[in-house]
Amino acid sequence: MKHNYKKKSKLNILISLSVLLIIIVAIVSAIGSANIKALDVYRVIFSKIPIINKYVNMEKITDAQFAIIWNVRLPRVILGILVGASLSVAGVSFQGLLKNPMADPYILGVSSGAALGATVAIISQFEYVKYGFSSITFAAFIGAITAVFIVYNIGKINNKLSTNTLLLAGVAVGQFFTAIMSFLMVVNSNDMSKIIYWTMGSLSGKGWNPVKTLSIPILLTIVVLIYYSKELNILLTGDETAKSMGVNVERTKEIILVLGTLLTSLVVSVSGIIGFVGLIIPHITRIIFGPDHRILLPCSAIVGAIFMIITDTISRTLISPVEIPVGIITAMFGGPFFIYLLRSKKKMM
């Protein structure tokens, strides 16, 4: 496969993917029990933008349709975009940084920490809402950050981050946190189903609040990570080579790790542990667009977003009105597709 995308074609790819995302946003927002046309979704969006809203014809849209699109479907789709983009970008960064194809956003213990935090909040029945976030979200975030903090400090030897120690510490701390969570679950079996549902991840019923609060930090973090794409490329040639080429290896690694875990923690605390996206989307984008992070990072953000909102739509419509946790759908549909790509790539070579 040839990956020589020059400046122009890079831009073309990004524009095409963005257009595709915009189209899919309308389609998935229209799908569901209520009778909604895809174009109505754009009308609703434009009606909320000053100046442009004067030119939008809203006559055919009923108040009920408007409410469903604006209050239910759109916030959920946009949250899906944020979650999918964050997990994919974090996955690409970790795989590149740790030079390990098995790496995903959860590899440093974020998921287990978040799950333990959420479990504690659920069984303590402690109700607290601030800025529209529940105590579960706060507890999950604190749990995630705590786990990564421990892993990070174990992995740092003589002020240097050792990749292998980091990975092993991530596994060990993750298992430990999961064990505590399981223990708490067994002791408080009443809350078991609620905890299990949380750990399987969901985007349902969050409203505009998480989107409003998270979009700016998430977008900023993604932009900063893209800012480091040249360094990520060079780090692939080895730490010592990177150092000799003028990269501040230790600082770059720290920044990427901190930003990646921040991204993951933010998303996980809101949506629960949605698996597979952060592992598979980076590989799929790498197979299609090559290993250059300057194109890989933005592309994976968009591809991750598209994948997330499609799978979320499937999760809410497949056996409607019952919602399937989206983590199940991502693995069920993403797995076979990934295997297909892997095999067709092997045949090509």
Binding site: K2, N4, Y227, N233, T237, S244, M245, G290, P291
Partner: protein
């Protein structure tokens, strides 16, 4: 002009010192090779010069400025580094890899400018990688990968290039290809090259200066002739070697002979060997390998047996080059024979010049010394004296000289000697 100066540099992990008392200067346009046995600190020295290992003691200056005062990117614009065994698992094309070399010159989000294109393409042209620039680095041969990595280093537009064993894991044709390329860059672009090399002969063939490291210290540095001597090699590698001028490459060539670790074997009898003209080479190396206490003589200086015996430090009686053996020299030889248990005669051609060697053997056997003739080739005529040599040989046989047909037989005989 000295562009790199190392002053009393020390480096270590904890208490273990990997480098000690390193004083070294490198001139602009020099091709310097760092040689030495495994674990001598060769790669470490290279990485200390490149500031990859920062916590060294002592002082390193590059172009007159302390290496620690350089910013990373600033240093990367002067020195580029080609590491050993770069494991590249990600599917970059050669072109993408080479363009990475422009990193120290670019600002963030700055796209590759025309200038970057020019330098990268020139680097690929110089290394013959232009025609394969679209191939993936996971799908090219070891030699091609090494050339691609050198191209990346050249895209850094450096004044100095450091290489850590650029020829390891390459076939001999690729080894020569890579070193020819480096030599060409060295001569045409006036690029200063510092390379760790395993192969002493490649080092001697391409370098202007050698640094021989042992146990983290510089054992010897200087020109190839100064560094590549049998005694320096023996000292560093604990191995005997012969150093001679290779006629094809016009450079010094090192042939390892044997490991020095073996001690003299006192259970075998001591031997004096009469040889010459290369007839004794196999016997000398076999007997030394078994640890026999050996002496040789008389040999003319410059004779091929003499060269071997000299380089292996065998006790020897010498005569001037191309001249007949003098009487006093041959008596010296007889005295040496008297100190040994057995006199061995190799199948050496006997002329009037070395007839005295045979006569002294006769004297020895008359004194009761045991004499063995190793006649490896029955067909071969050794008599160039119109029958005098043959007469003495027959007399020796009459006096009880043992004739053996191979070196193996000789060794068997020596094995059983003690039991007699």
């Amino acid at each position: 002009m000295n562009i790199i100066n190392l002053n009393n540099v020390e480096f270590g992990y904890g208490k273990l010192k990997v480098l000690r008392n390193i004083d070294l200067s490198v001139e602009e346009g020099q091709f310097l090779s760092i040689i030495g046995p495994n674990g001598a600190g060769k790669s470490t020295l290279l990485k200390v010069i490149n500031n990859i290992y920062e916590n060294y003691e002592g002082n390193i200056s590059i172009y007159g400025k302390n290496a620690k005062d350089y910013k990373r990117k600033e240093l990367a614009r002067i020195i580029s580094f080609v590491p050993q065994d770069t494991f590249l698992d990600f599917e970059f094309s050669i072109e993408e890899l080479v363009f990475m070399g422009r990193y120290p010159f670019q600002k963030r989000f700055q796209n590759d400018a025309k200038h970057d294109y020019d330098i990268s393409y020139r680097a690929m042209a110089l290394t013959n990688t232009l025609e394969i620039k679209d191939r993936l680095i996971t799908q090219i041969s070891g030699g091609e990968r090494q050339r691609a990595l050198i191209a990346k280093a050249l895209a850094q537009d450096p004044k100095i290039i450091l290489l850590d064993e650029p020829t390891s894991h390459l076939d001999i044709n690729h080894q020569i290809e890579v070193l020819e390329l480096l030599k060409e860059l060295n001569l045409k672009q006036n690029l200063t090259i510092i390379s760790v090399l395993h192969d002493l002969n490649l080092a001697s063939r391409y370098s202007d200066k050698l640094v021989l490291l042992k146990d983290g210290q510089i054992l010897k540095s200087g020109s190839v002739e100064e560094v590549l001597t049998a005694s320096n090699i023996e000292n560093a590698y604990n191995m005997r070697a012969v150093v001679e001028l290779n006629k094809f490459t016009n450079s010094l060539f090192v042939t390892p002979i044997e490991s020095k670790k073996r001690n003299k074997n006192t259970s075998l009898p001591s031997i004096h060997l009469i040889a010459g003209g290369g007839s004794g080479q196999a016997i000398i190396s076999r007997l030394l390998k078994e640890g026999v206490d050996l002496s040789v003589g008389v040999l003319n200086v410059g004779d091929s047996d003499w060269q071997l015996a000299k380089s292996l430090k065998v006790e020897m009686v010498e005569e001037k080059p191309f001249s007949a053996i003098k009487e006093e020299t041959s008596y010296e030889n007889l005295n040496l024979m008297r100190t040994k248990d057995i006199v061995v005669i190799a199948q050496v051609p006997i002329g009037h010049g070395n007839l005295l060697n045979l006569e002294m053997a006769l004297t020895a056997i008359n004194e009761g010394k045991e004499v063995i003739y190793v006649k490896e080739n029955i067909e071969k005529n050794i008599d160039y004296t119109n029958g005098i040599a043959t007469k003495i040989m027959n007399e020796l046989i009459l006096k009880g000289m043992i004739v053996l047909n191979s070196i193996e037989d000789l060794l068997n005989y020596l094995e059983n000697y003690k039991r007699k």
